[in-house]
């Protein structure tokens, strides 16, 4: 069903890049593809472009549907569309699948022209900086010199933040949502358990499972189940599932008994069917590596954000314990130290980290109000 506030039927496009891309790791990608979607119209002076960066498991399909019968809209359809908080009547919105992804951009499951086989283990690790570099090249090909705003939640928020440091003159506003300036040890620990689940799956074959006509589903499923726990709050799990039993009584066995088990296994299975394990590994490493203070003395975030010229909206959610409000406040403090224009909102929500994807009137009201003030 299509509603009036939907961007409607959309189709992805592919941009091919022949210029070699030198990654942070030192590896050179001789050529690569980026798949992307756009919504709305680029205005005559190309001043109304918005880039939306995706999180760990996201992609370029932000809004709209692929056909009349498509049951699922893009992952941020509640935020992006005509009359929505990021209004496609005013803005030209771009979503892309990051380099290393598994939804059409060159990634570990793509065919390596050098060997004629999937890259697999040979695909280089990429960083948030690499993504931002490749996004800037995509902007170049679309004729966009400067974004009105770069927007992202979670890992996407890190990309928005990195944009303001890496290309200060190319971004007027940054919306950094449910993000952190860098991961904590606890966060890296969660990521590593997820990676270990994949790496130790007998079907992983050192990353070259494509050749064996299999995928490390068990590992990827476990990784997703673990991740999913950390994206929800104890509150929301309690209110949604509590200790509810599927069949009303204990079975004294290891099959699904509690509803939460059923839910998590279903989420894990669904994800393991559709996502590439190598991409999952690579995305979690990009998260772990991200640290704009890396090259600065004493890990000083204020120093790292000094080049930024953008104006900021920073949003956190009260029950988000994966990227807690405290982490967003670190970003805000560093921006205040640099006298950047910034607004910060702490949204009361029971939905944990996933809240950034949900419709919450205050949250959506803020984004709408902020975007209304973005001149084009």
């Amino acid at each position: 069903m299509l509603d009036a506030a939907s961007v409607g039927i959309v189709a992805p496009q592919t941009a091919h890049f022949d210029t070699p891309l030198t990654l942070k790791s030192g590896t050179v990608m001789p050529a690569h593809d980026l798949v992307y979607e756009t919504y709305g119209k680029l205005n005559a002076d190309r001043s109304n472009a918005i880039l939306i960066c995706h999180a760990l498991s996201g992609n370029h399909h932000i809004a709209g549907r692929y056909s009349e019968n498509d049951k699922r809209a893009g992952w941020w359809d509640n935020m992006v569309g005509p009359g929505k908080p990021i209004d496609t009547n005013r803005f030209f919105v771009i979503g892309l699948n990051n380099l290393g992804g598994c939804h059409g951009s060159t990634g570990p499951s793509s065919i390596d022209p050098a060997s004629g086989k999937p890259y697999g283990a040979r695909f280089p690790l990429v960083t948030v900086e690499d993504w931002v570099t490749s996004q800037a090249r995509l902007a170049d090909t679309l004729g966009i010199r400067q974004f009105a705003a770069v927007v992202g939640g979670s890992l996407g928020g890190m990309q928005a933040l990195q944009w303001t440091i890496q290309y200060p003159e190319r971004v007027r506003h940054a919306l950094v949502i449910a993000a952190a300036p860098k991961l904590t040890a606890q966060n890296i620990a969660f990521n590593d358990v997820a990676r270990q689940a994949i790496l130790t799956d007998p079907d992983f074959y050192g990353g070259d499972y494509y050749a064996h006509d299999t995928t490390p589903k068990r590992g990827l499923r476990l990784a997703r189940m673990l991740g999913h726990i950390t994206y929800l709050s104890d509150d929301v799990m309690g209110s949604k599932f509590g200790r509810i039993l599927r069949h009303g009584a204990f079975n004294y066995g290891y099959d699904v008994e509690f509803e939460i088990e059923s839910y998590l296994r279903y989420q894990g299975d669904k994800f393991a069917e559709s996502f590439d394990a190598n991409t999952y590994l690579l995305m979690t490493k990009a998260l772990d590596y991200f640290d704009p203070t890396h090259h600065h003395e004493h890990g000083d975030l204020s120093l790292a954000l000094k080049p930024a010229r953008a104006e900021f909206l920073v949003v956190s959610f009260t029950t988000d314990w994966r990227f807690s409000p405290e982490r967003s406040k670190e970003i805000v403090k560093a921006l205040l130290d640099n006298q950047r224009p910034v607004s910060y909102a702490e949204v009361t929500s029971s939905h944990g980290h996933d809240a950034f994807l949900m419709v919450e009137p205050y949250y959506h009201g803020l984004v709408r109000a902020y975007m209304d003030k973005v001149t084009v």
């Binding site: 805000v332 403090k333 205040l336 949204v347 205050y362």
Partner: protein, 197 residues
């Protein structure tokens, strides 16, 4: 000067140097900051705790930080503002000492406004045996957010005992500035102050 802003906002705006840096604590919908941005070209931030106010600030194009003032101003560096304003909020603060100290840590000059408990209408109601309710104290005793009401004399004594120098005092009732017997005839106090020495 836009006629729609509150009279004490106009009074404060007259005292803010152009292009200065302003922090407005408990900034409400950001009306004062918005006014100062347009008429004084200031750079500023508001601080608010309520969702509605934060949203209104963003709608008004005012930078706002959502946080609880009671938790202090640790996000703000010492000496990073020319003025720190606390308007109609002092009397609601649990820890008056700490907010006054924080204001003078992050700013060179503090500006507070608060309802004068010593205003004659308030005194009359107390004499009549009731907690005062007035235009400047529009709450009943059971639903008031005000926990630290004071008179002009109280506030001035507080400042002198804390090494705070009062730069200027303006006392108002409605749009009228009160010169004579201000602690009796004034309903609203505006103070500018700084650290001694």
């Amino acid at each position: 000067m836009s006629p729609s802003i509150r009279p004490e906002f106009a009074l404060i705006a007259d005292r803010i140097k152009s292009s200065s840096r302003v922090l407005d604590l408990g900034c409400g919908d950001g009306a004062l900051l918005n006014h100062l941005q347009q008429h004084r070209q200031i750079r500023g931030y508001g601080v608010e705790i309520s969702d509605d106010s934060v949203l209104a600030c963003v709608q008004n194009g005012v930078n706002v930080i959502q946080t609880d003032l009671e938790a202090g101003l640790s996000a703000f560096e010492s000496g990073s503002f020319d003025y720190v304003i606390l308007s109609h909020t002092l009397q609601t603060m649990r820890n008056v000492d700490s907010i006054m100290a924080e204001m003078l840590r992050v700013g060179r000059e503090g500006i507070v406004t608060f309802p004068n408990f010593g205003y004659w209408r308030h005194r009359m109601q107390v004499i009549a045996g009731r907690m005062p309710v007035s235009r400047s104290l529009p709450y009943q005793w059971f639903d008031t957010p005000n926990v630290h009401l004071c008179t002009l004399n109280d506030f001035e004594e507080f400042c002198s005992s804390r090494g705070i120098r009062i730069i200027e005092r303006v006392v108002m009732t409605g749009r009228q500035t009160i010169g004579f017997a201000p602690n009796l005839l004034g309903s609203l106090a505006v103070y500018r102050f700084e650290k001694l020495g």
